[in-house]
């Protein structure tokens, strides 16, 4: 393979021409994509069992989880995603204060949703042994809790770094990369709630 010496100097550190911001964003995008695919398979499980179930799908007397609580928890997640976005747009326009406040709010909302979710899971009207619907509901909510745990870690980190001024209007790729994850984390409970509660399982 023929190569030649680069004619001019190089912009990137220690002499490569890699766009490190692009790399970070692409990498996170692919990671989130694999997570999306995993969740798609979990949702496929739900759709499949619902469509082709036997007697054990939704045994007589099974109660639905408390819808109001679920809507509130889902709302918290969505709100958290919205705050993340506002904060991100804020720093794009150069406002450190918007970023810091919004990231803090987004993280607090996520923690609230997480602890609410854990509490809620302890008081479900069914257990894992109560048929496929109950199994799927607990499995999907459990995976959401894993999402939120990781998200909380990221949220605290981002808030902390925002406080110390690690971001600026031209240093946002870390934020947009984590943003991909954050928006996906906010979207998952919406999908789950839509599929599992808004469309009642016993219809």
């Amino acid at each position: 393979m023929a190569t030649s010496i680069p004619a001019s100097g190089h912009a990137a550190p220690h002499g490569d021409s890699v766009d490190h911001d692009l790399k970070l964003r692409r990498g996170m995008l692919f990671y989130v994509l694999t997570d999306v695919i995993f969740v798609i398979f979990l949702l496929t499980t739900y759709v499949w069992l619902r469509a082709f179930h036997g007697d054990g799908w939704f045994p007589q007397g099974t109660k639905l989880p408390d819808q109001q609580t679920v809507y509130i928890l889902t709302g918290l997640c969505v709100l958290s995603g919205i705050f993340y976005f506002i904060g991100f747009m804020g720093i794009r326009n150069g406002s450190q204060a918007t970023l810091t406040i919004c990231m803090a709010v987004a993280t607090v909302l996520a923690i609230a949703a997480l602890s609410g979710q854990i509490r809620f899971m302890g008081h479900l009207p069914f257990t894992t042994g109560d048929g496929s619907y109950a199994s799927t509901y607990i499995m999907l909510s459990g995976y959401h809790i894993y999402h939120m745990l990781l998200g909380t870690f990221l949220g605290i980190g981002v808030t902390n770094r925002a406080l110390r001024g690690r971001y600026s209007s031209d240093r946002t790729s870390g934020l947009s990369a984590i943003g991909y994850y954050w928006y996906w984390m906010a979207l998952t409970p919406v999908l789950v709630t839509l599929m599992m509660l808004v469309l009642p399982p016993n219809s």
């Binding site: 023929a2 190569t3 680069p6 990498g27 398979f41 069992l49 036997g54 054990g56 496929s132 902390n160």
Partner: protein, 642 residues
């Protein structure tokens, strides 16, 4: 002492403590789960123990250092710090700790995948020992089933990682002109997850066969882990599923990293049409791994939940043994599994396509015949392989009306595969073939994969599959694609890149013995297996009817010959690594970038990132006019330009 913390040794110690605390704490304080037969181990305890093991291990190797310094917004590591993490001045110890240099990770993968290959091969030998004569004499049938399941699963894990791991890590970044992978820490982490995954996986016989101490304690499912059987099989299933989940996570990380690397890290001038086929093959495989693995992970997760928490994903309440409400579906498990399972075989074999083509070019001294066609072949396989999985369910009874569709897509996949064969033949034709061991293995790929492919066409046909499905014909077919295709490609790749990776040449004389032993052992054994398959011998049985005895005897004998020749290979690798002939930078006269850097490859690969001015296949002709004249001639240039 300070050298040992953090390192893999500290990780092992903390991992063991984590496992003990996790499994015992849960059994004592949270309460017992099911299967109280074992001394103080239940399934839930095991899983918590595995989590403890993982965290202990990651803590011990120092994998948490960066995430927490990021969390606390400490100073970003400077270049000096990064280099220390990449193993600068660490000597041999860099192979035993969390090291980010892609070359170190590549070597780590090489060693571990060869170890896995040896373990899986041991399983194959145990199977053939049992089957050498009729009658289940060597092992009780439950133990035999466990060996079959572990052999299958372990070999799948080996073959999905033995290209992406060693060569994807060591070779690909240099080939595209990068200093490292896109995310060096993630790279080190993906290896660091493979290892505990393997340890957990190997606990299967310990818990299943020894501690559970019953013939049924092991894994009875085969590598396909169909839900209904996986739900009721012995305690060994739990470590198996957990270990494979972890290895799956590791391979997803590796895949994300490779895809990002190839997309964003190519050197200036390294356009998509100048990528060596090896990169294309591994890139395609990484795409398949990133997309397909999720289905399998979901399947395993649901199995674990079914087993531990009595959920009803696969559990169908029929008859008197009901323990839960039921409502599960056995077909769901099959579909989740095969949605991964079919792309998975291409994930194994695509890198072999690329590597074999590259090796044929180098030792044929001729440009690649039909570059675009080869790329089209590989990417065509990537796309089509997600549309064919239900050909594994032609006799499952699921959705008979869509069988013709899957028959069509499956047969269609032979068109892109056929393109690769034309590329191979066109490249060989009128070359100057240099018959090194690497070249011999690359050429044996043609023969072996051809047989695998043609017999695959038989199985793609619904009526023929009804007779052949679940029999030894299928076993022989996929061994022809995976052993005959991927493993031969792996051997070719090891003989080819060993000089670059270790700085020493493999012994060519031993290589020839290895080659001929492998070809004879493999081909006779598996052609005989096609024969018993046609006779009607089912797969995965410990005992068989007398009519199958002669062929099985032949299979076993030649399988032992195959194993003996692979022992020669392992001996060759170890002996040459220690005391082989020293390798020059470009012993084969190859033209892709990894051969233009010195051996051993310096820490950041290139003193200065090269600007690529032409493709890697410039043999036998002056560079086309119109393209820039290269500054440093390709040919046998011993060093990188600049």
């Amino acid at each position: 002492m300070r050298k040992l913390v953090p390192s893999y040794f500290a990780g092992a110690v903390l991992g063991a403590i984590g496992f003990f605390l996790g499994s015992q704490y849960v059994t004592h304080f949270i309460g017992a789960g099911n299967a109280p037969d074992g001394p103080n181990f239940d399934q839930q305890g095991l899983v918590i123990g595995f989590i403890g093991l993982l965290f202990g291990w990651l803590l011990g190797i120092g994998a948490f250092k960066y995430p927490f310094s990021w969390l606390l917004a400490m100073k970003d590591p400077d270049h000096e710090e990064e280099m220390r993490l990449a193993g600068k001045d660490a000597g041999v110890m860099r192979y035993f700790r969390f090291t980010t240099d892609h070359k170190v990770v590549g070597i780590q993968y090489l060693v571990v995948t060869m170890l896995m290959l040896a373990l899986g091969g041991l399983g194959a030998m145990l199977i053939r020992t049992e089957l050498i004569t009729p009658g289940a004499k060597a092992f009780p049938t439950g133990t035999y089933n466990t060996i079959v399941s572990m052999h299958g699963m372990l070999m799948i894990l080996t073959t999905i990682s033995f290209f992406i791991g060693p060569f994807g890590n060591f070779v690909v970044p240099i080939m595209i002109g990068a200093r490292d992978m896109a995310f060096p820490r993630l790279n080190a982490l993906s290896f660091a997850l493979l290892f505990p995954g393997l340890v957990i996986f190997m606990m299967t016989p310990i818990f299943g066969l020894i501690i559970m101490n019953g013939d049924g304690g092991g894994v009875q499912t085969g590598w396909t882990v169909y839900g209904t059987l996986a739900d009721q099989t012995g305690i060994g299933m739990t470590p198996l599923a957990a270990g494979v989940l972890l290895i799956g996570a590791s391979s997803i990380m590796g895949a994300v990293n490779l895809v990002t690397t190839v997309i964003t890290m190519r050197a200036p001038g390294m356009t998509w049409t100048r990528l060596p086929m090896t990169v294309w093959g591994i890139f395609g495989a990484a795409l398949l791994a990133a997309i397909g693995t999720g289905a399998f992970s979901a399947d395993l997760l649901l199995i674990l939940l079914d087993r531990i928490y009595k959920t009803s994903f696969f559990y169908v309440a029929t008859g008197g043994n009901a323990v839960g409400a039921g409502g599960g579906s056995s077909w769901l498990s099959q579909n989740l599994f095969w949605f991964f399972g079919h792309p998975e075989v291409y994930l194994i074999v695509l890198p072999a396509f690329g590597i074999v083509i590259d090796i044929l070019v180098v030792f044929g001294r001729k440009p690649l015949f039909g570059y675009k066609m080869a790329v089209l072949g590989i990417m065509g396989v990537v796309v089509l392989s997600f549309l064919v999985w239900a050909h594994h369910e032609f006799v499952s009874g699921w959705a008979p009306e869509i069988r013709p569709f899957y028959m069509a897509t499956t047969e269609m996949i032979s068109i892109p595969t056929g393109l690769v064969f034309l590329v191979v033949l066109g490249t060989l034709w009128r070359g100057r073939l240099w018959m090194t061991t690497a070249m011999l293995f690359a050429m044996s790929f043609i023969w072996n994969f051809l047989i695998g492919g043609l017999t695959g066409v038989f199985l793609s046909d619904v009526p023929a599959d009804v007779q052949l499905h679940g029999g030894m014909f299928v076993t022989a077919h996929f061994h022809y694609t995976i052993v005959g295709g991927a493993l031969m490609g792996f051997f070719a790749a090891v003989y080819f890149w060993f000089p670059k990776m270790t700085g020493r040449m493999l012994d060519e004389r031993l290589g020839k013995i290895h080659f001929w032993g492998t070809q004879i052992g493999f081909n006779v054994a598996f052609l005989a297996m096609f024969y018993v398959g046609l006779q009607g011998m089912p797969r995965r049985v410990a005992d068989y009817a007398p009519i199958f005895a002669p062929a099985n005897f032949v299979i076993s004998i030649f399988a032992f010959i195959l194993a003996a020749s692979i022992l020669v290979f392992f001996y060759n690798v170890i002996a040459s690594w220690v005391a082989g002939e020293k390798a020059v930078a470009n012993p084969w006269g190859a033209k892709s970038l990894e051969w233009l850097v010195p051996t051993p490859v310096p820490l950041e690969n290139f003193e200065e990132i090269p600007v690529v001015a032409s493709g890697p296949y410039d043999y036998g002709e002056p560079v086309d006019s119109g393209k820039p004249i290269p500054a440093a001639g390709g040919g046998s240039a011993g060093q990188v330009a600049g």
